[in-house]
Symmetry: C2
DNA sequence: CTAATCATTTAGGCTAGCCTAAAATAGTGA
DNA sequence: TCACTATTTTAGGCTAGCCTAAATGATTAG
């Protein structure tokens, strides 16, 4: 009696694992460690191992996983991860544009809703919004087929010398930071003058807005591109 | 060591039980049997008993439950049930009005979403919709404080003699029926001529629409009021 | 090249919510 | 009233997803 029993996998939990692997793997889709996943998802490393084993041994596996060597998305896993990301960003856009949510609140609400909507819902809000390509944080929204244009931007933390840039995007995971940045008019598309000092960056957007002193630790959340 | 351990209750499941008790108890809030609940929720009677015991022994109980005598909502349970009902009906209205969903699809989608939205979301869509009092099926939407105006209508199945009526509301639980009714212009507010025969009702709405032969078994889904 | 450290996996447990089968209770007709 | 039937509850099991503690594997400093 071989142990090919069917294992049921809770979609919500799986989605969260896949999204985390997508995000942590970065654009080069590097393999991701259990610990990194555990930290991001707020669960114990042992729980991650457990789930990865399930994901890898499903009928059509969502991940490629070798013991002790981290995990990568399979093509199927990547497809699903991008689908969830598309849901997430469309919902964020929708909450912001149609329901007038403040920018710093859309992430948490979208996080909750993204698992429970069907294609039809997605289709309708995409249509209602005119099939947007960018969400209110400046992030690309994957197309229906999973294609997503490459980001032509760099994290603010990599800035070498003082200068002027355009804000490309801002991570949605830290609501407080998002609110602070908004209060200083630092939003996607804004022009930004950056002055570097040992422990912080000083940011100035537009003219009327006060300069913002940003700890280097927070500067990874903002991506910029050159003004031209 | 007393057994006063804290029991965690999954909100989604609880919500479904509370909604079912509210619906089956009717406007007089009669006590509801395990079997009726089991049937409506699609679970085994034993599962219902189990859950009712949990609901009744929670810190602030959602139901009043006596073995073998059915179950009623506690004030707290009623409050929550009406809150979920409000969510459900607001979401339905929203899907129909803003996202242009076909009427027969809004129920299932709302069913999925209603558990996962926060007050803030509810608030926004209520505002966006102009604080509607009636959903697209003709059902009252409970107010924020749980108050809901009494239905001044009767089930179509109670019609004694032929006559003309106004469609008050239509149950959203049978998508197929909803679609059929729509095709015959039988929607909330429509004028309806009803002809009774032993096994069916014949319904005619407006002038251009064909008469609909409706089995008595389906006639509980439609509520009517008198034309005046 | 070995020992210490760090990362990861295994083993064993827990809870929620469902199930089935068996036991108990309530209701009813003779 | 008593037995029969239908309803409801109890008892015992299962799975998913989490946990902790212990064991194992990988890596790195001396």
């Amino acid at each position: 009696m071989p142990s090919n029993r069917q294992v049921n996998i809770n979609t919500e939990s799986v989605d969260n694992y896949l999204k985390a692997i997508l995000a942590l793997g970065g654009p080069e889709e590097q393999s991701v460690s259990s610990t990194a996943l555990a930290q991001r998802l707020g669960v114990a490393p042992a729980s991650v191992t457990n789930m990865l084993q399930k994901l890898a041994s499903a009928r059509s596996p969502f991940v490629e996983y070798e013991k002790h060597r981290g995990v990568r998305l399979s093509p199927e896993g990547k497809r699903r991860a991008l689908e969830v990301l598309r849901h997430h960003r469309l919902i964020e856009t929708f909450l912001y544009e149609i329901l007038d949510f403040p920018i710093e609140e859309v992430h948490d609400e979208a996080e909750r809703l993204e698992h429970f909507i069907l294609e039809r819902f997605e289709e309708r809000i995409a249509a209602k919004l005119g099939h947007p390509k960018i969400d209110p944080h400046g992030h690309c929204i994957p197309a229906l087929d999973g294609r997503m244009s490459k980001q032509d931007s760099a994290p603010l933390i990599d800035v070498e010398k003082d200068g002027e840039f355009v804000v490309d995007s801002i991570s949605d995971r830290d609501a407080k930071l998002l609110k602070t940045l908004k209060a200083h008019s630092i939003t996607p598309g804004a022009h930004l003058r950056v002055t570097k000092s040992p422990h912080e960056l000083v940011l100035r957007a537009g003219k009327g807005s006060k300069p913002l002193h940003l700890a280097l630790s927070a500067a990874g959340a903002v991506r910029i591109r050159s003004t031209n």
